[in-house]
Symmetry: C2
Subunit: 402 residues, 2 copies
């Protein structure tokens, strides 16, 4: 009797699905989907034993899921087993798909992911979006989306939703970009600018990157702090497998943690923020490089070649990251810190000084730091998978579409 004492609300108060017979059925549909999804393929009997329902109850649920195109039967299981042969079930490779899109500072990207988690179509356009108005950017993005959707539809898929990753803060309404400094967008509602045919979610790229790490990162636990960078430095906090969003949806602003409180002024109004030491622009200046596209690639290349100026700049950035992360780790006690986005590619030169700060400033064992294998792909994949997850988590929502 330890944890239950701290349940601050009546059990169930935070759930999406109502606590009725119908809600229970919807949750059980989700359990079936997740059980089959986790196993790859599974008989009805195996599903029943895994989720603790009767074979009869599971069969009713499975029949609906097959009718909606979410599960498919792989044919009878191999003979030789005792009892009536059951047909193995698998998550359908046709049917609903998640459409993920990314508005990057230097690129646009779109992909379609099926319920099995496989990328089935993809399109990318390189070129800066810095300072461009939202309309032309979203028009280009819409063209890419139509191209990817057409390709997905030819493969028997249909979009269950569209999720867009942006390099900025997004309001909790899930479609308004409150502030994207590197695009120079403010209070931009993407709702009217994106195709209206599918449910839309817009979120910060760091959030989608963290969700991708949670869902796709091998061995990533359910409690971690995900640090990423495109131009600015963002973070996302995952607790018990859930993203911590904050009251306004602005949680994760690690880039404006004061590292040296009397340091250089920051556009945010503060002084000595982490971005003044470890942001792309700060590192570029410290390394004595000119502004250019794909600065991260250049930094990695130069550091690899042994350029001492670049290496020193990255060391300094690692130190600043380590100081900021010490504060974050003390506050959150995550199981691990994951370096994603552009930081993943620079980690060989950032990590040593980062870890020196983190371990030197911590009583007891320091929080381990892990480098994301998804790197810059994280936000796009996280966006597409967020749609897929929504279907797996509440399969009944697609009933009317199927």
């Amino acid at each position: 009797m330890t944890e239950p004492l701290h349940e601050a609300r009546p059990p169930g108060a935070g759930r999406t699905l109502p606590d009725t017979q119908q809600g229970m059925r919807r949750r059980n549909l989700a359990r079936v989907m997740h059980a089959v999804s986790a196993a790859g393929s599974l008989s009805r009997a195996a599903v029943a034993s895994r989720i603790g329902l009767t074979r009869a109850a599971v069969s009713t649920l499975v029949d609906d899921l097959i009718r909606w195109g979410l599960l498919e039967e792989l044919g009878p299981e191999r003979p030789g087993r005792v009892g009536r042969p059951g047909s193995a079930l698998a998550v359908s490779a046709r049917g609903p798909a998640g459409i993920g899109a990314e508005i990057g500072v230097d690129h646009l990207a779109v992909c379609a992911v099926d319920l099995r988690g496989e990328v089935r179509a993809r399109a990318v356009r390189r070129g800066t979006n810095r300072g461009r108005a939202p309309e032309p950017v979203t028009q280009e993005l819409t063209a890419l989306i139509r191209q990817v959707v057409a390709e997905a539809e030819r493969a028997g898929l249909w979009p269950a939703g569209l999720a867009v990753a942006v390099p900025g803060l997004v309001a909790r309404d899930g479609h308004t970009v409150v502030r994207a400094p590197n695009l120079d967008w403010h209070d931009t509602d993407l709702g009217p600018l994106m195709p209206g045919r599918w449910p839309l979610t817009v979120d910060n790229e760091a959030n989608f990157g963290a969700l991708a790490e949670l869902w796709l990162g091998a061995g990533t636990p359910g409690d971690f702090l995900h640090v990423s960078a495109e131009i600015g430095i963002g973070a996302a906090v995952v607790v018990d497998g859930r993203l911590l969003r904050g009251t306004r949806g602005f949680a994760g602003e690690l880039g404006h943690m004061p590292v040296r409180p009397d340091g250089p002024p920051c556009p945010c109004g503060g002084r000595g923020c982490l971005e003044q030491y470890a942001g792309e622009e700060a590192v570029r200046r410290a390394a004595g490089l000119e502004p250019r596209e794909d600065l991260v690639g250049l930094l990695a290349e130069r550091a690899e070649e042994g350029d001492e100026g670049v290496r020193a700049a990255l060391r300094e950035a690692g130190t600043a990251l380590g100081i900021a992360l010490t504060g974050a780790v003390n506050l959150l006690d995550p199981e691990t810190v994951v370096m994603g986005g552009a930081l993943a590619g620079l980690s060989p030169w950032l990590l040593p000084s980062l870890e020196t700060e983190l371990s030197g400033r911590t009583a007891g064992p320091a929080c381990p730091v892990k480098v994301s294998r998804l790197g810059p792909q994280g936000p796009l994949l996280g966006a597409a998978h967020s749609v897929v997850r929504a279907v797996l988590d509440d399969p009944a929502v697609v009933a009317q579409r199927a």
Copy 2:
């Protein structure tokens, strides 16, 4: 279709109660308790309409709750209403009670709180526990607990559980004090040292203080950062009405957030941690005072009298708190910051410089700072209420005791 996209786990995966008919019944029992508790008194029909169940279903649940001693009937409602008169229900003032206990650096305290949330018995012993071994301290505490329980029992209450607040880090097992620097306790399992008759939970005083603020603080929202101090500086993060505990149970270590990374060394291994500027010891030294008990009282008294040395020391502490809180607020985006514990009493002299830092370093409106009205009472009340909440959240657990 915004938030559901981000549900990282199948709905219900995080719940305590199983998703079965029996689990549903237990959750509905909790709904009835919370509905009556929130309203003060309520007829069966009003309960049914508030929680969306039929009158018949509610009556069955209510009968059990009355039988277990959790609800009582106040007699028929006043006449003049249309329909058959219903008997108003209220949460029982007899039956289960929460026993809260606090091991402070300078005191021990125990109280009993009934299901209505009223303190029905209380005992305090002043005197330092600094450097004392766990055994004599817990023996004294046990004597106080027996005294409070005896008084509660005379009032028709029985202890549903015991919750103990400690000034240190507690493992997620809920009974081992990993580190309580000001008591000099390390890896102390309180399980065998406390009376074994009741379910035991041990937690950090900052956590219990935050829970008290959540449950009892008028107008406190469900997302806040609670900052408190006894000797060290602790914080607790409440998100969506739940305490964020961290992987090891160590979340909330705001005191070791680096404020000036090259500042004075801290026993934690770091440099320039918040505690080096805003901890009781640091403020005492900066104010030029000798060590003594109830330093906070003395600081408040001197500041009130206009002692410029003390005021300057508190101003500096407020600045350091503001720097650390800027980082925390950027990371968590809470709705408010609540100053509790000893900080509440010093807030008139801490807040101006704290708020200057917080607003000066934040883009957009600064996170509001609120002073807790519970102050030093928070941890003890939070402990006792955590037991009460556990009963309200799953009333069926007391069925066999009643």
